[in-house]
C-alpha cells in the first residue's frame, strides 16, 4: 500500500521538474494526416504499403502542405483507440486506421470529432465522417491464379495463409478461381500458420509446400517474408506477391505483384473533404478504377510465355469491363 503513495509523489516531483521545458506546435492550413498501423512501417506488406503511399502524397503535394505522423505496432485495438483520440484532439484532419480491426474503435471515436475525417480498411461500413476503403484483392488474386495454373509444371500450387479470415479469404478465393478457370487439374493447397507475424513458421510452411511438390507459392500478411526467403533458396519455384511488390527480397523468385495505389485513394479522400464530404463513402479499390495494379518483376518477366501474358491481360480487361466477375465466398 505504502509503495503506491510513493508513486504519486514520484510522478508529481518528476512532472514539476519537467514542466519547465518543452513547447507546443502550431498548425497552419496544412492537411494533417495521421496513420495508425497494426504492424510496422518496414513489414514489406500491408502496413508498409500505406506508409509509403502517404510519403508519396506528401512528396507530391509538397512537404509544407502535408503534415504526416504515424503510430505503429498498434495491433491491439485498445491502444489504437487511445492513439486515434490523441490525434483527433491534436487537430489532425484525416486519420487513417489501416486495418479491419479498427472498425469498432472508429465507430466509438468518430461521433465525438465531427470535423475530422476517419478512414479504415479493409472495411465496408462507412459513417458520416468515416470512409471505408476496400481493396478487391480477389481480382488480382484471380490473375495470379491464372499465371500459376498456366505455368505450373507439377500441377501443385501452395498458399501460405496467416489466419483464415478477412483479406486472406478474399485473396485465396480469387486465386483458386483463377487456377480453376485455366487448369482444372491443378491442386491448390491452402495451409495456415495461425498467426500474422510468425516468420519462421511461414518459412517452414513454404518448405513443406515445396517438398510436397508445389512450384508456385503465394500468400498474405507480414509473415510471408519468411516464405519468400525460403522460396528464394529453391530453383524453379515462383512466388506471387500481394499488398506490395516484394521482389527486392527475392529478385529472381517473385514473378508478379498485386499492389494498391494508396495515393489515388488518399487523393479521393482529400478531394471529398474539400467538397465538404467528411466521410460516408465506401471506397473500393479495383482493377477497373486503376487502384489495383499488377506488375511483373522485370528480372523474370521474360520467363512468362507470351500466351500466358496474353491470357492474363485478356482476363484483366474482362474484369475491368465487368464481363468477368470474381466471386467472393458466401
Amino acid at each position: 500500500m505504502k509503495r503506491v503513495s510513493l508513486f504519486v509523489v514520484l510522478v508529481v516531483v518528476l512532472s514539476t521538474l519537467l514542466t519547465a521545458c518543452g513547447g507546443g506546435t502550431t498548425s497552419s492550413d496544412k492537411i494533417r494526416i495521421a496513420l495508425i498501423l497494426p504492424s510496422t512501417i518496414d513489414d514489406m506488406a500491408w502496413s508498409q504499403s500505406m506508409y509509403e503511399g502517404i510519403l508519396a502524397i506528401q512528396e507530391e503535394l509538397g512537404m509544407d502542405k502535408v503534415d504526416f505522423e504515424y503510430s505503429e505496432s498498434l495491433g491491439n485495438p485498445v491502444d489504437a483507440g487511445a492513439a486515434i483520440r490523441e490525434y483527433a484532439d491534436k487537430g489532425f484532419n484525416i486519420i487513417i486506421a489501416h486495418g479491419s480491426q479498427y472498425q469498432s474503435v472508429l465507430d466509438e471515436v468518430a461521433p465525438d470529432y465531427p470535423e475530422v475525417s476517419f478512414a479504415y480498411g479493409t472495411g465496408y461500413q462507412s459513417h458520416d465522417n468515416i470512409f471505408a476503403y476496400d481493396p478487391q484483392a480477389q481480382e488480382g488474386a484471380y490473375l495470379h491464379g491464372m499465371m500459376a495454373g498456366l505455368m505450373t509444371q507439377s500441377n501443385i500450387v501452395g498458399i501460405v495463409g496467416p489466419v483464415e479470415a478477412g483479406d486472406a479469404i478474399k485473396y485465396n478465393y480469387g486465386f483458386q478461381q483463377g487456377v480453376e478457370a485455366v487448369n482444372p487439374d491443378v491442386d491448390v493447397r491452402i495451409a495456415y500458420t495461425g498467426s500474422f507475424g510468425d516468420i519462421p513458421k511461414a518459412a517452414e510452411l513454404a518448405k513443406a509446400h515445396m517438398d510436397a511438390g508445389a512450384d508456385f507459392l503465394t500468400g498474405t500478411a507480414q509473415q510471408v517474408v519468411g516464405a519468400i526467403t525460403a522460396v528464394k533458396e529453391r530453383d524453379g519455384v515462383y512466388w506471387l506477391s500481394n499488398d506490395m511488390d516484394q521482389s527486392p527480397l527475392a529478385p529472381d523468385a517473385v514473378l508478379s505483384a498485386q499492389t494498391y495505389d494508396w495515393v489515388k485513394v488518399l487523393k479521393q479522400i482529400i478531394e471529398y473533404r474539400e467538397n465538404g464530404t467528411m466521410g460516408g463513402e465506401h471506397l473500393s479499390l479495383s482493377l477497373a478504377n486503376g487502384e489495383i495494379k499488377m506488375v511483373y518483376n522485370p528480372n523474370v518477366e521474360g520467363n512468362v510465355p507470351q500466351d500466358v501474358k496474353d491470357a492474363v491481360e485478356e482476363a484483366k480487361q474482362q474484369i475491368i469491363k465487368g464481363e468477368l466477375e470474381v466471386a467472393l465466398p458466401d
Binding site: M1, K2, R3, V4, S5, L6, F7, V8, V9, L10, V11, V13, L14, S15, L18, T19, C21, G22, T40, E69, S71, E72, S73, L74, G75, N76, P77, V78, D79, G81, A82, A83, R85, E86, Y87, D89, S100, Q101, Q103, S104, V105, D107, E108, D112, T122, G123, Y124, Q125, D134, V163, E164, A165, G166, I169, K170, G194, L328, P329, D330
Partner: protein, 368 residues
C-alpha cells in the same frame, strides 16, 4: 529494521530515474530530446481530460487481471495464463450477450459478466486441476493454454460467432456483431472512453481484500501460500486450495476481457488481451501483492504505458522504445524492491564488493 517512508520514496524515485536515464540514452540515439520526450510522457497522462481518462481506461483491465494475480500469488502459485483466460472469458460473455438479445440490461449485464468470470475460471482452473491431480506443471500448461485459447477464439470468431455483416459484404473479418446495447457498460464521462467497468473493478478490489483477509477460506489460501507444508500439516487441502486459487485468478482475467468488450469495443475481436495477462502481473507486484495496493499501482502503470505511447508519438521515435522503457522500469523497480524491505542491504552489498568475488563484477545498473 524497516526502511523509513522517505527512504522508500528515494529508492523508488531512484529506480524509476535510473530506468529513465537508460531510456534517455536510447532516445538520444533515436535523435530525440529526452527532456521533451519525458515531459510528454509524464505530463501527458496528467494534464488533460483525455490523458486522465485514458490512463484509467488502461488501468481497468490491469486492475482486474492484477486482482487475480494477487489471489494466485498469495496462495503460492504464479498465473501466467492471463492472456488466454481473458479471451476465453470475453468469448463466453460475448456469446451469452449475443444469444439473449432481448433480455433487459439489468439481467443481461450481470449474466454476461458472470459467464465471462466462469469461463475464465474454467480456463484457469484446468491448469490448477492438472497440477493437483496429474502433476502437470502449471507454467507449462498455462503457456500452452494461452496458445490454444488464441486459436479457439479465432475459430469461433470466423465461424459460429462471426458478424453476419462481414459475410454479407464479403470482408470476412473475424469479429462478432455488435453486442446488444443494453449490455454495454455505460460511459462515466461523455466524450471519453472511461466507463463503469472501472468502478466495478474498484468494488471488486475491496471484495478481494475482504475475501483474502476476512474470510476463513481466504485465510486458508494465504496459509498455503505462506507455508505449504505447514498448511498441509494443519489439515488444509493444499491441492484444492491451488485449484481454487487458479480458478479465481482465471475468473478475474476472464472478467477483465469481458469488461474491455462491454466498456470499449462493444463486440469481440482479436487482440483484446493486449498483453494485460503479463502487465497485470507487474501491476500486482507494484501494488505489493495487495488488492487495495493494486488499485493505485494499476492506475500508475496504466498512466506510465499511456505516457510512453504519447511520448513516442510526440517525439516520433520507433514504437519499440515504449516496450523497452516499460521493461527497464519493471527491472529497476523489482530489482530495488529488496532495498525497501531491508535498508541494510545496499551497505552489505557494497561492503562485499570490496572483496574479490569474481562473479559479482557485473557492470549492470545499480539502482541508487
Amino acid at each position: 529494521m524497516k526502511q523509513s517512508i522517505w527512504g522508500k520514496i528515494l529508492i523508488l524515485i531512484g529506480a524509476v530515474v535510473g530506468a529513465l536515464l537508460v531510456g534517455a540514452l536510447l532516445l538520444l540515439i533515436a535523435g530525440a530530446n529526452p527532456l521533451v520526450a519525458y515531459r510528454a510522457m509524464l505530463i501527458g497522462p496528467l494534464s488533460s481530460r483525455y490523458g486522465i481518462t485514458e490512463a484509467l481506461v488502461k488501468a481497468t483491465p490491469l486492475l482486474l487481471v492484477g486482482l487475480g494475480i494477487v489471489i494466485a500469488f498469495r496462495s503460492g502459485i504464479l498465473n501466467i495464463g492471463g492472456e488466454g483466460q481473458m479471451v476465453i472469458g470475453a468469448l463466453a460473455g460475448s456469446a451469452c450477450a449475443l444469444a439473449l438479445p432481448d433480455l433487459p440490461g439489468i439481467l443481461l449485464l450481470p449474466m454476461t459478466l458472470l459467464s465471462s468470470f466462469l469461463a475464465g475460471a474454467v480456463w484457469g482452473g484446468i491448469p490448477g486441476w492438472l497440477k493437483a491431480r496429474l502433476s502437470v506443471n502449471e507454467i507449462l500448461s498455462t503457456i500452452m493454454l494461452n496458445s490454444i485459447a488464441l486459436q479457439l477464439v479465432t475459430f469461433m470468431l470466423r465461424g459460429p460467432l462471426i458478424d453476419p455483416q462481414e459475410i454479407a459484404y464479403g470482408t470476412g473479418f473475424p469479429q462478432t456483431a455488435q453486442l446488444p446495447e443494453q449490455s454495454w457498460l455505460p460511459r462515466l464521462i461523455p466524450r471519453t472512453r472511461l466507463h463503469w467497468g472501472f468502478v466495478v473493478a474498484l468494488l471488486l478490489a475491496g471484495l478481494v481484500y475482504v475475501f483474502l483477509w476476512r474470510t476463513s477460506l481466504g485465510y486458508r489460501m494465504r496459509a498455503v501460500g505462506a507455508q505449504k507444508e505447514a498448511a498441509r500439516y494443519g489439515g488444509i487441502q493444499v491441492e484444492n486450495s491451488l485449484v481454487l486459487a487458479m480458478a479465481l485468478s482465471g475468473g478475474f482475467a476472464g472478467l477483465a476481457g469481458m469488461v474491455e468488450v462491454l466498456g470499449i469495443h462493444h463486440r469481440l475481436l482479436d487482440g483484446i488481451s493486449a498483453g494485460y495477462g503479463f502487465s497485470g502481473i507487474v501491476a500486482a507486484l507494484f501494488g505489493q501483492l495487495h488488492p487495495l495496493g493494486t488499485i493505485p499501482a494499476a492506475i500508475l502503470f496504466g498512466a506510465l504505458t499511456l505516457g510512453a505511447d504519447m511520448m513516442q508519438r510526440a517525439v516520433e521515435v520507433p514504437a519499440a522504445i515504449v516496450l523497452t522503457i516499460q521493461g527497464l522500469v519493471v527491472l529497476f523497480v523489482v530489482g530495488s524492491d529488496v532495498l525497501m524491505r531491508r535498508p541494510d542491504f545496499l551497505k552489505r552489498l557494497l561492503g562485499k564488493r570490496m572483496m574479490p568475488i569474481p562473479e559479482e563484477t557485473s557492470q549492470e545498473e545499480v539502482p541508487s
